[in-house]
Symmetry: C2
Amino acid sequence: MENRLIDQDVLYEESLEKILAYLEEKKYFKARDELLRFNEVDIAELLEEVTEEAGLQKTVILFRLLPKDVSVEVFSELPSDDQVDIINEITDKEIDYIVTEMDFDDKIDVLEELPANVVDKILEKTPKSERKLINTFLNYPDTCAGSLMTPDYISLQKDWTVARALEHIKKEGMDAETVYTCYVKDTGRKLIGIVSLATLVITDDNVRVKDIMRTDFVYENVYEDQEEVAEDFKRYGFLAIPVVDNEDRLVGIITVDDILDVMEEEATEDIERMNGVIDWENSDKDYLDISVKQHVLNRLPWLIILMVAYVFTGMIITRFEATLSQVICLVAYMPMLMGTGGNTGSQAATLIIRGLATDEVDTSDALAVLWKEVRVGFVIGVILSAINFVRVCWIDGNGVMVALTVCTAMLFIVMFAKIIGSMIPLLVKKMKLDPALIANPAISSVSDIVALTIYFLMAMLFLHL
Amino acid sequence: MENRLIDQDVLYEESLEKILAYLEEKKYFKARDELLRFNEVDIAELLEEVTEEAGLQKTVILFRLLPKDVSVEVFSELPSDDQVDIINEITDKEIDYIVTEMDFDDKIDVLEELPANVVDKILEKTPKSERKLINTFLNYPDTCAGSLMTPDYISLQKDWTVARALEHIKKEGMDAETVYTCYVKDTGRKLIGIVSLATLVITDDNVRVKDIMRTDFVYENVYEDQEEVAEDFKRYGFLAIPVVDNEDRLVGIITVDDILDVMEEEATEDIERMNGVIDWENSDKDYLDISVKQHVLNRLPWLIILMVAYVFTGMIITRFEATLSQVICLVAYMPMLMGTGGNTGSQAATLIIRGLATDEVDTSDALAVLWKEVRVGFVIGVILSAINFVRVCWIDGNGVMVALTVCTAMLFIVMFAKIIGSMIPLLVKKMKLDPALIANPAISSVSDIVALTIYFLMAMLFLHL
């Protein structure tokens, strides 16, 4: 028997080459068999590479040679461009099969991305009842629980025995991810309990569902924000969470595999916001697929807002122009002081914003945070001041008074920047806004203004200007 | 019947108050019953609040009144401080029960956090065979697959029928999260296939396991980095992935619920690194639990490295001191030009670093990225220059030549910053390092140096200085 556990990346690369070689020689069945050594996710990725290397026509041929059940899964995994191309190339009967067999949540994902004419083509093939459901699902806002859920779940009656429940599951027999938790509803479709397949399998056949179902389950409203849903998954470690409408009726379930994508999306959003990029379109498009125009629109707002902040730094400098022209060497330390203030402020802001996002820090911790940052700022400030004293005094040879100006300014700037950087996110959170929206650029420009003011005050103090 | 689906947050707050009131009146059983309306995760959190509000003693009493199976789960969910306190307060028999019943992966998590003397106390109660296993598990590095896995999985024989397999699962009957995928090993303990509980339940009783098991499964090596493991979960949407040792023997499985934490940890690490905070201890400690000393050590390195970069900006300014003192108003625009360069550079860097982390961008896309950033930079540069022309010329009244100096500098600075910000992360990735390590502070200081140089060159050009 072949050793299965060879390096999967190596296997992938070798197979891709083999497949391309087979296609070159028009040995389509051999190429197909090579593909089938992989699971559906990898097959989809291999087909993408085939399209790139050998053209769409070859991909379509290979796709049509796949066993039908595999082709449905592979289709859901393909990027939407390839889906459109394939839909346009295959027969109506094949489309029919894919549309009928695709999981409901995959179908929603696919439909959300496809152009209108292809969506119509697919909806045509869908039974009327399902078409209505699809339209409802497509109408949920993009980032709420409703847009993540699937209506494919197992319903049990509370008076059924375990044996009957298992029989029912066997008959309904659906996708792995949706079958592991079963839901018990009352006559008004209201959710009253959940029971896991694991519990059913290990419980005696004649026990009743109502005696083993859990009633302390967690659920989400269809309009709950996806970030909150992800929080609940993380908190409780569930594989699926039921979703109810405003009348508490069970309308679908969310499975954990979709949450992994949500978590990545939300982390990306936070990271971008913290660094001054606003994704207006809430798109999950790849960097390279976003147009130049959209990139500009995403980045320009903060840069323009900060322009206004720089008017203040400009004013402060103009106000002290006379001072500066007297001791022009002070200008040389301006970038360092402002830069260090900005950097050290965004370090603090980053830790607090992330702490708020992961529930490690809360607005009620404000005093504890302040006390910590004051001490951290003091220690860092003293160390950086000491380094700079040596530099300004001995290396640059600018004299003790200039060194004292730069170093006391450094100490105060670092401490103020730490305080500003840590307190502003807490304040924004207190105002019920997303702290990540107070991007680090904003923290740096506030600390720039503070830094310049402190610097010139110290110059007045020590140099009597 | 009571309406179950009331707002869960409200329920939680109300119950906490009730529990505290009951404890006040020493009605422990009533408090216990109120607790039991919740699931284990919430009970643990309620107990934490009880400790804070009413003292440890009350928590211990409540904990001991919990049904035994609930208390084990609750114990695993408590923060380690509370675990230590409880271990010290309860009887050996109670410890015994908790230690025996806890899931293996929870036990590892608990032991990793507890102080040595408590660990000894727990290990004493553990059977010798398991103690050896625990020691092996505790020795895997903190961020590899081995540290995430549990040895609690279901093994099946390939020649078993489905009926026998289900019987076996019923007998082994373990935790939900570990039972949904079963593993088939050959005689040498090498993994040869996997089969999901869903498949077993919907397949006829007399079919053999080998005929329904999947052999195209994905697996991880025990020493695989946890970030890669998380990638695989996201890519394939699995609920569990098997882990093999260097001889391809199955040693454990990783379940998706542990991956949610890993994803959050990795996102936090990236966010911190990008903003110049290095977590040397790789700790998952909360912000407030990290000591001042450690906070200083985590933040100081970048600040000191950047000090060196500022020596260059200082040198450039000193070199042009004569120029500056002639047209002192040029100083007023320095913070704006340097700040905008830094901000726009980190926008680009952020998008590329995140794109690399989520596999949206690859080093082979360098040219496409460059072309996109040049265009984005040009558009943004032109817009910001236009705004500044108005400001410098009409609002500040500094004349056309100064305005031209500032505006052409702005255009070039934005374009260069976009190029630097996008290319440096790709370069770092090419060198097989983590692009997030090239923190945004580094990008800003490189762009500071570029910005000053461009600015003074433009001043020489337009003002003939």
